[in-house]
């Protein structure tokens, strides 16, 4: 069995799924820096760095998911999801019900949660419970196989 750290496991899982499924794209603020290897392998069309606007790139990912892609949105820290709550709560989560099942927005939003490293009250909250929207599967992996799987 391979031994991987958290960051490596996430990277490895994305690498594998992107190689097998051409619909998987990664969105995120400057995401090409932490995912440099994916950026080189899959190019800018599939690893899309965004400006500092979670509302914009999470919203773009919702649209991409509706259009048939499978976006993985990387939000730098969970606290910033608050900025994108309209796209997630009012659009992605409700779309299927609103359209009578005609539209869906299947996507993954990943964000580091918690902290304890002294980044302040707006940058290291533990907002697990905050994100249990209707239609969302919330996963807080404690072990690596869950994280990669």
């Amino acid at each position: 069995m391979r031994m991987l750290g958290f960051a490596e496991a996430i990277d490895d899982a994305l690498d594998q799924v992107m190689a097998t499924d051409l619909k998987v794209v990664v969105f995120g603020e400057d995401v090409h820096a932490p995912r440099a290897n994916l950026f080189v392998r899959f190019g800018e069309r599939r690893v899309r760095p965004a400006l500092i606007s979670e509302a914009a790139f999470v919203g773009a990912a919702v649209g991409a998911a509706m259009a048939g892609l499978r976006p993985v949105v990387e939000v730098m820290i969970v606290d910033f999801i608050g900025v994108a709550i309209d796209a997630l709560l009012n659009h992605a989560a409700k779309l299927e019900a609103f359209s009578g099942g005609k539209w869906k927005a299947p996507m993954v939003v990943r964000a580091p949660c918690g902290g304890g490293y002294g980044d302040g009250g707006q940058h290291e909250q533990s907002l697990w419970g905050w994100h249990i929207f209707w239609g969302w599967l919330l996963s807080s992996p404690q072990i690596l196989p869950m994280l990669a799987g």
């Binding site: 097998t20 440099a36 290897n37 080189v40 392998r41 190019g43 800018e44 069309r45």
Partner: protein, 83 residues
């Protein structure tokens, strides 16, 4: 940096993925990003203290005066914080 380099170099020839041209463009962008970061970190031209010192090179007394003022302000802040 070392941790990044291995995965990046392995990604370049990996099977499946973008065309070679796209990979080279992406690699170029990464190299440019790394270069900018390193330049910003080590360039003294972006350091406001260095720039102020350079500008006031010919006015040593003025520079000394500012230096003393800054030291005094820092000392005051420190004392206030430790009070």
């Amino acid at each position: 940096m070392k941790e990044m380099l291995g995965p990046i170099l392995r990604s370049l020839p990996a099977r499946k993925g973008a065309s070679l041209g796209e990979r080279i463009v992406s690699l170029g962008r990464m190299a440019s990003l790394i270069g900018q970061t390193v330049a910003e970190k080590y360039s003294r031209r972006r350091d406001p203290v260095y720039r102020a010192r350079q500008r006031l090179k010919g006015e040593k007394s003025h520079l000394d005066k500012i230096g003393k003022e800054v030291e005094r302000e820092i000392q005051e802040v420190l004392e206030a914080a430790l009070r």
